[in-house]
């Protein structure tokens, strides 16, 4: 049973990690806690669902969902953060404006799709189940796990090895210094939001495909977990969000298995709380995005 619980934890944890990646990227670059991230997670899934129902092949539909998520992220930045940036508002205002945009996004989904839980046609998502020894898992779960790792590695490479990555790191550390060497700040912000939000959307799409459920409130399932992940792993740290995600996933599954399922979330939050008290920078924090 332990083996199965570990595998369960790794799968769900990799979704948390992928979701938290966008959170952490935006926090690292702009010092903003973007509470609208969960709504982009949800809208990405809805976009893919609509595309699939229109007959678009699944892979293309996932790409479409990611693209939509990225664009919604850019829009979010434009309406919620850009005006505040211009007048150099304190940290509280962006928190509230991201909540506001989250409400608008969720409300739009609610208006269009209603409150029902939607699902993909079963012939699209039916995946074979594998049993290896004591462990059972589906192809979808395996895919989600590998895709999460690959996307995280990709982001890490982007930040370390590319021109855009250097610009993002420079802006993250000191926007004014970045401007002085000729980096277009707004363009870097927009690209950061695009990447972070596209990743959030992909997390939502994979989540929806694994559990075959899409609903306007699906973001709330990961919203607070995402926070726990980035705190545990270290705000702004990309390997941190992977580690944090996997640890939260594992702690959930193990506390259900060996402690009490009723207190599962309490245990997650207790870990989060203790982490903040003992080491506020998280397991891999401090090094942060800047040294990725």
């Amino acid at each position: 049973m332990l083996a199965q619980q570990l595998v369960n934890g790794l799968f769900i944890g990799s979704v948390y990690a992928l979701f938290a990646l966008g959170y952490t990227l935006i926090f690292g670059v702009l010092d903003i806690l973007n509470l609208a991230h969960a709504s982009i997670f949800m809208l990405g899934a809805f976009t893919t669902l609509v595309l699939v129902l229109k007959g678009v092949p699944l892979l293309l539909a996932i790409l479409g969902g990611a693209l939509a998520g990225g664009l919604l992220g850019v829009l979010l930045d434009r309406v919620a953060f850009w005006p505040l940036r211009r007048r150099q508002a304190g940290p509280l205002a962006p928190l509230i404006s991201s909540i506001a945009v989250g409400m608008i996004y969720v409300g739009t989904a609610n208006g269009i799709f209603g409150p029902d839980v939607r699902h993909f046609p079963f012939d699209v998502v039916r995946t074979p189940t594998y049993t290896i020894g004591p462990v059972t898992f589906t192809l979808a779960q395996l895919t989600i796990f590998i895709a999460s790792l690959a996307l995280m590695a990709g982001l890490q490479l982007l930040l370390r090895r590319t021109r855009l990555g250097a610009a993002i790191r420079a802006v993250a550390e000191n926007p004014r210094a970045a401007q002085l060497v000729g980096i277009d700040l707004e363009s870097v912000y927009a690209q950061t939001f695009f990447i972070a939000s596209a990743l959030g959307a992909v997390a939502g799409i994979l989540f929806a495909l694994t559990f075959n459920a899409v609903s306007s409130v699906m973001g709330s399932a990961v919203e607070l977990k995402g926070l726990a992940v980035i705190v545990l792993g270290g705000m702004g740290s990309i390997p941190g969000s992977l580690l944090g995600g996997l640890l939260i996933g594992l702690s959930e599954d193990l506390s259900v298995a060996y402690l009490s399922s009723g207190y599962r979330d309490a245990i997650v939050f207790a870990i989060l709380f203790l982490m903040l008290i003992i080491r506020p920078t998280g397991l891999l924090g401090k090094r942060g995005l800047r040294t990725a």
Binding site: M103, I104, P115, L224, F269, P280
Partner: protein, 279 residues
């Protein structure tokens, strides 16, 4: 006059909700005034609400002693939470306190004394509109006086530069703990008033969304002065009621209005009332 009584009898619950929500927004505001973003206030609400309701229903205490005992409990919980999180700032503090609030809620779900998910029904209606509004008036007055006192100056100094404040002999830890305890007590007290004016409580009443509402009310109203959170609560409590006709699209308009205020009214709605702060 008749129209007023008729209006009151049709909307007394809503009027009470506004009063309670204003107190809740003030509870967030107190910690903000000391530079701390504390988002665990739904936990304090729950602690006082359950404690005072159980004291009244099971131990047959009178209303006010029960509520005050519960409020004291919340203040103690505020100190106990405040102490370990003292050195956390900004979003880290916010996240830690959210964790606290969620833990309280999960305990309320799992304990038997709280009635678990089934909650506690049949709570007597002891928190009348006069009680709620005189409490609010008193809280506003005391907090307004507080901001002008030595302690209030210390709060503001810590909020703006903690290191410099300490350099002037202000003990940041003590004042931050005090702010935590005051905020917790106000949140708890408001939670009790809410419980004793709504017949029924259950853990759902103390979820994360609740504290988001409080914070939004405080910021939309304006955190520059004590009147802001009250104004914000009036708007944000009325908004869902007035926008009901939009059905599933209601949240879109809700969000747009919230966004509008944040983007175009940096000092919140209060700046419309108090022109000096309008810039």
């Amino acid at each position: 006059m008749h129209a007023l009584t008729a209006f009151y009898s049709a909307h007394s619950a809503l009027i009470n909700q506004i009063g309670v929500n204003a107190l809740l927004a003030l509870s967030i505001w107190v910690t903000l005034a000391c530079g701390q973003l504390s988002l665990g206030n739904m936990g304090f609400m729950a602690i006082t609400a359950y404690a005072s309701v159980l004291l009244v229903l099971r131990a047959h205490w009178p209303f006010f002693p029960a509520v005050l005992a519960g409020t004291g409990l919340a203040a103690i919980a505020g100190l106990l939470l405040g102490w370990p999180v003292l050195r956390l700032r900004g979003v880290f503090l916010a996240i830690a306190t959210i964790g606290f609030g969620e833990i309280v809620r999960i305990f309320a779900v799992n304990l038997s004394v709280t009635g678990g998910a089934e909650g506690i029904a049949g709570i007597p209606q002891l928190a009348s509109t006069p009680i709620i509004y005189s409490s609010l008036a008193l809280a506003v007055f005391l907090l307004w006086r507080l901001t002008r006192s030595r302690a209030g100056r210390a709060f503001a100094a810590i909020a703006q530069d903690e290191v410099a404040a300490a350099g002037l002999g202000i003990d940041p830890a003590a004042y931050k703990l005090a702010a935590f305890a005051i905020g917790a007590a106000i949140a708890g007290y408001a939670g009790a008033l809410s419980a004793f004016s709504s017949f029924f409580i259950s853990p759902t009443d103390y979820s994360f969304g609740r504290v988001v509402d409080m914070l939004a009310s405080a910021v939309v109203g304006g955190i520059g002065s004590v009147g802001g959170p009250v104004l914000g609560s009036i708007l944000l409590t009325l908004l869902p009621e007035t926008l009901r006709f939009l059905q599933n699209y209601r949240d879109v308009i809700n969000g747009l209005i919230l966004l509008f205020v944040i983007v175009f009214l940096p000092q919140g709605l209060w700046s419309l009332v108090d022109r000096r702060r309008a810039s």
